[in-house]
Symmetry: C2
């Protein structure tokens, strides 16, 4: 395995250490675990936004704490949910008297551990609510939407949550807006290669030299079809058809989009993907308010990408436009 | 080759198209070539900052135009300098009456073509000056510093240039500050794997399964030694020794640092690298004012990383602290 690591069983701890050192003026460790909060958390009179999940998807979730983003993160091991006590530490760090909203990807381990932490937090008098992200259209049918997995849509949903919480809205209001953002967001991913996990040296799955998988999950979960590798244009059309028909996104809709690299796919390729995706949206008269391009939700060195759309309304657009300043995602107007 | 492309000979043009579409409110194409400028360029009364070089290193240089960064970019083919006419178009777009400063990596093709464009621009009455970036300590000895190549140090130098130009300083002043930034900046890179070029499908070089190369250039130029792969800790110590002794950086110096991925190296690994690098700087009592971690100067899907330091003085620190808002690099204070 050609990776810049020391011992396999320390990769997550050393990553967190490096992250803390590189952002020493913005973030702090809380408890004696991999729970990290904004330096100024908890902020009194503001709903706390707590995110988290397995490691290995950096910058998601670890690096999405900061101004206009989350207040604290519970960071698990590679592809493993954070334990309830880590989530509880993050919760305490984010709780400023107005309660806490949990946001995380809809995976069994995360659901179980966040639910346990939520109970523990309630017992400590910290009011809390939860929004699970299930943007991956390839992972279950539309009538089983609550079975879907969360992928790159996390970025927009966390951004909206951070912005809404900073308006001073109460927990019920923040939850309701974040649910709207979640319900307006759809993604789909494809994989061209497997990833090699830094904690085991193992590949996540096998994929033939001439194959790609449409709908591949961010931990290598099977997608909807394994096909011969196609051109960027054909690939994006396949992805766009599936993602656009799901909400569905219609002529006249205004959206923000993300073209996300899963790891080894380059920014050059992402721009080519966006070139095609943008043409498709134009054909369908879907108006792109803003487009993000980069690696925000990764699967280590897996080659592949995902596309995400969030349909805007007046409130979401206003919240989208506020500043976000986290180590892993920055957005601001001049 | 597992890449999201269409035709090999169109990858750069399609990348530029995608970039223009994704950033349609911020940037525009100028001429009928791959020269791209900020929408509001040229800005009257401000020195224009023109950058450029071969494609394949995205976000460098293409995505470094924007507020507090460059005004225009001349984008070449993969690993090939932009032609003089492309540079001239970028120059015209950036020229607001106070002249233009060229900043690019110190490679033969770039030097030749930028020099030709500079002559052509002078003939059109556009005053201009040049700062070549030569931060790669592995590429030539300290007494042949003008033979060194430019690598990830470009990021900090372009950031300082953009900030200085926005103060309204004249061309001579901007050049002098940017030269100082360049002279205060040192980098070194290592490669763990080769890259596959999207325009040819070829690998840039061969490297054994258990080998890494210290000092590898961003186009696969040979480094200073090819060694058995080491732990992150040993690798970073090797890199740090070479880069720190070169300026040299001394106890009491204040620096900004960059840990840069060449492509397939993940953010998890970059944090581990920074964890070690930060310890070394602490041992040597070199004070880190700010640390950037990410993929800013890439070589397609090559695994490997570079570390960069820029020594600060009062002026550079102030300029570093100003906002930068380009698609490929954002920096702001809350």
């Amino acid at each position: 395995m050609k990776k810049l690591i020391n011992e396999m069983d320390k990769v997550v701890d050393e990553c967190v250490e490096g992250f803390l050192k590189a952002n020493k003026n913005q973030v702090k460790r809380v408890g004696n675990v991999n729970a990290i909060a904004r330096k100024e958390a908890p902020k009194q009179g503001k709903v706390g936004i707590v995110i988290g999940g397995g490691a290995g998807h950096e910058p998601l979730f670890l690096e999405f704490i900061g101004g206009g983003m989350a207040d604290a993160v519970a960071h698990g091991d590679i592809f493993a949910a954070p334990s309830p006590n880590v989530i509880l530490e993050a919760t305490r760090a984010a709780a400023g008297g107005e309660g806490v909203l949990y946001i995380y990807g809809n995976y069994e381990g995360d659901v179980m551990n966040f639910d346990m932490a939520a109970e523990m937090a309630k017992n400590e008098g910290i009011e809390n609510e939860t929004v699970r992200v299930w943007d991956d259209v390839a992972s279950a049918s539309p009538d089983e939407i609550e079975e879907r997995r969360g992928i790159s849509g996390d970025l927009f949903i966390i951004k909206i949550a951070g912005a809404k919480a900073e308006t001073g809205a109460d927990l019920e209001d923040v939850k309701s807006t974040v649910e709207k953002a979640r319900d307006n967001t759809r993604s789909i991913g494809i994989a061209l290669t497997s990833a090699t996990l830094p904690n085991t040296g193992e590949k996540t799955f096998e994929l033939g030299e001439d194959e790609m998988e449409v709908g591949m999950g961010v931990h290598g979960e099977p997608g909807v079809e394994r096909i011969k590798i196609k051109s960027a244009e054909e690939t994006v059309r396949t992805m766009a058809d599936k993602v656009l028909e799901d909400l569905p996104f219609r002529s006249g809709d205004e959206v923000v989009t993300l073209v996300n690299s899963y790891g080894a796919t380059t920014r050059l390729e992402l721009q080519i993907v966006y070139d095609e995706f943008s043409s498709i949206l134009e054909e369908r008269k879907i108006d792109v308010y803003d487009a993000e391009i980069g690696a925000y939700c990764t699967t280590q060195d897996m080659a592949g990408c995902s596309i995400t759309l969030m349909k805007l309304d007046r409130e979401l657009k206003k919240l989208y436009n506020t500043d976000a300043n986290s180590p892993g995602y920055k957005h601001f107007q001049e």
